[in-house]
């Protein structure tokens, strides 16, 4: 499957943190052509394995982790007229919600619109403020009896957004954070078909990242990798954001530096990028929170960890935008990195 089609299919599917089954299934199906085996753990992580050619006794184990869950909303209350009040799952800016179309995952998937008090009945002060989450509701265009027959408190909700092509190699859609990362893992697995690698490669689609990097916690424990690489998205440049916090779209994957990144892994990734003429960017992360790398690094007795990211604009909105070339280049970078890892290199990661 072409990587763009894969990303499109994942983006258009729904998998709010805790209910990622639909995504897991789609990933398993496509990864199937490139891996030797796969399993799912108790939290729902999809753990796939592509075996390396190294000696069984000292084969390095490399884990690539990208999360498949997405932010969403949850039904909190059904009012007397059948309007739904809701809360958020994961970090959502309330200002991105008014006027959105949504899908409510009740007994059936039900379409709705996020409404708020109409502007002409808001007073002057209200009109100057952002509409608060508590003043929004979902209108299903149905009466209360129909609504109660279809929807229950606790049902999950996602903003509706069809993946779309923009100019050049750019695309936009929801949940590209981090299904773009999963796509980079696919790109890497494809590259590995034609490369020799000693290491066993675990491609992991992790769950529940958005609510506290939980899937990476258990999957890393189960795999016990020698090297863990989290693949996620980072902020793309845009007006109103300082360029020290962002990377440019289309200029290559971002190799991160920071407390959660093992310096030797960073250095090697950079050297591989240079050697294979893959354009890359350097990102800095002073606080190790916010990606699967945070969980991987402190698993068991500690795992050397790296973070490779795809620049993405408008993170956690329904119109996340990125350049497909960054995913492709990242896949090549990871594959070439993997093919050059041997047990000696892994040994060296413990020597500071």
């Amino acid at each position: 499957m072409e990587s763009k089609d894969f990303l499109k299919s994942l983006s258009n599917k729904t998998g709010v943190s805790g209910t990622e089954e639909e995504i897991t299934k789609a990933v398993k199906e496509v990864f199937g052509d490139y891996i030797d085996e796969s399993r799912t753990d108790a939290l729902g992580n999809l753990i796939t394995l592509k075996r390396g050619e190294g000696k069984e006794s000292d084969k390095p184990q490399i884990m690539l982790a990208a999360h498949i869950d997405e932010i969403g909303l949850m039904v909190k209350e059904i009012d007397e007229k059948g309007f739904l009040k809701f809360t958020t799952v994961g970090g959502i800016d309330q200002r991105t919600l008014v006027g959105q179309e949504v899908l409510v995952y009740g007994k059936e998937v039900v379409k709705g619109i996020i409404g708020a008090k109409p502007p002409h009945v808001q007073d002057k002060k209200e009109q100057k403020q952002a509409i608060k989450l508590k003043d929004m509701y979902i209108d299903l265009g149905r009466n209360v009896k129909e609504v109660k027959g279809l929807v229950e408190v606790g049902d999950l909700i996602v903003v509706t957004r069809e993946f779309c092509d923009l100019e050049g190699n750019r695309v936009s859609g929801k949940s590209l954070d981090d299904r773009a990362g999963v796509t980079m893992v696919l790109e890497c697995l494809k590259e590995l078909q034609r490369l020799k690698h000693a290491s066993d490669v675990y491609g992991v689609a992790t769950v529940q990242e958005e609510v506290g990097v939980r899937g990476a916690t258990t999957s890393t424990y189960g795999i016990v990798p020698d090297i863990g690489i989290a693949i996620d998205v980072c902020h793309g440049e845009m007006p109103g954001v300082s360029d020290e916090e962002t990377a440019n779209l289309g200029e290559g994957p971002v190799i991160f530096l920071g407390p959660q990144v093992h310096p030797k892994l960073h250095k090697k990734l950079k050297r591989i990028a240079q050697e294979f003429d893959i354009s890359y960017q350097i990102g800095t992360s002073t606080s190790p929170r916010g990606t699967d790398a945070f969980a991987i690094q402190v698993t068991r007795s500690g795992i050397p960890t790296a973070l490779v990211s795809i620049p993405l604009r408008y993170m956690h909105t329904s119109v996340e935008t990125l350049d497909l070339n960054d995913i492709k280049k990242g896949g090549r970078l990871l594959a070439n990195f993997i093919s050059q890892v041997d047990s000696e290199f892994v040994e060296g990661l413990r020597c500071f």
Binding site: G115, D135, D139, L140, C164, P239, V241, L249, T317
Partner: protein, 345 residues
Amino acid sequence: MLLAELSEAIGVSGAEYEIRDLIREEIKEHVDEIRTDALGNLIVHKEGDSSLPTLLLAAHMDEIGLMVTKVEKNGLLSFKPIGGIDKRVLVSKKVVVGKDKIPGVIGAKAIHLQRPSERKRPLKIKQLYIDIGAKDDKAAKKVVNIGDTATFATKFSQLGPKTVKGKAFDDRVGCSVLMELLRNDYDFPLYGVFSVQEEVGLRGAGVAAYDINPDLTIVIEGTTASDVPGSKEHVYSTTVGEGPALTMMDMTIIPNRGLMQSIIETAEDTNIGYQFRRSTAAGTDAGRIHLLKEGIPTAVVSVPVRYIHSPASLLNLDDYEATKNLLNEFCKRLSSGGFNFEKDN
């Protein structure tokens, strides 16, 4: 469904090309004369008995939208609103730009990069851009120009058993009702106007009606329904599901009492449920038309629509049918000379 096509067609005020072509194609078979005027209004005529009053039915075909005002160095498009748009509904939406419908998105700074206090203030239009994915201004200018208009990329679809959602129901629902009525034959001379530029100050309809000089006018609208949480029942302007809304007064018109009365009588006699528009805010093309020349008896009949001027609005199909039926019954009665109008009413 006609309304689906009308809703998905684009036509921001001043750039009503696609919607006008669509309407023209659909109705040309059913009318005796069809023309456009200097502003772009689409005017149709069905001949009739000149001893009966000439009726004008009008609906505006333009919609609110955005206009590209600058192509930034980084390829993003700056824009300004056309018509009344609450800037708070723009964030995180998909749009299409220009005649070629180039897809674009309106993004916002990621929540991770904001201070919590920022989330209490709406984003200003100046802080928002349309991103068409162009890597710089050169790439952007290949597909868009300054002055291009943009509108929401919203698909029409059924919501509940009785409700549908789509963009621009204000006033594509009026266009749809009018188009269906034009398929019928009545005895009186009938004009239909699909007006331009209503959303930027009722610019089109008055010009179109000037030469027609009708004896009576009914403007068919999609009007705001505020029967939603956060709004108290006594301030509901209209309620979805309670039938066509008759305007008693708004910012631009006090409708002709005689005409209003005859519409109400028609509804009562034919058992069509109706409601009054219980708000005096805003205005419609009727505001222009009723002041033409020495005055033209004019009324406004509307389909209630929730979330007008937003990416997705909602209406009830029973309201739509009832509005069409009411106007059809009115026209039938007008055909048979059932009303006693004086031109100087």
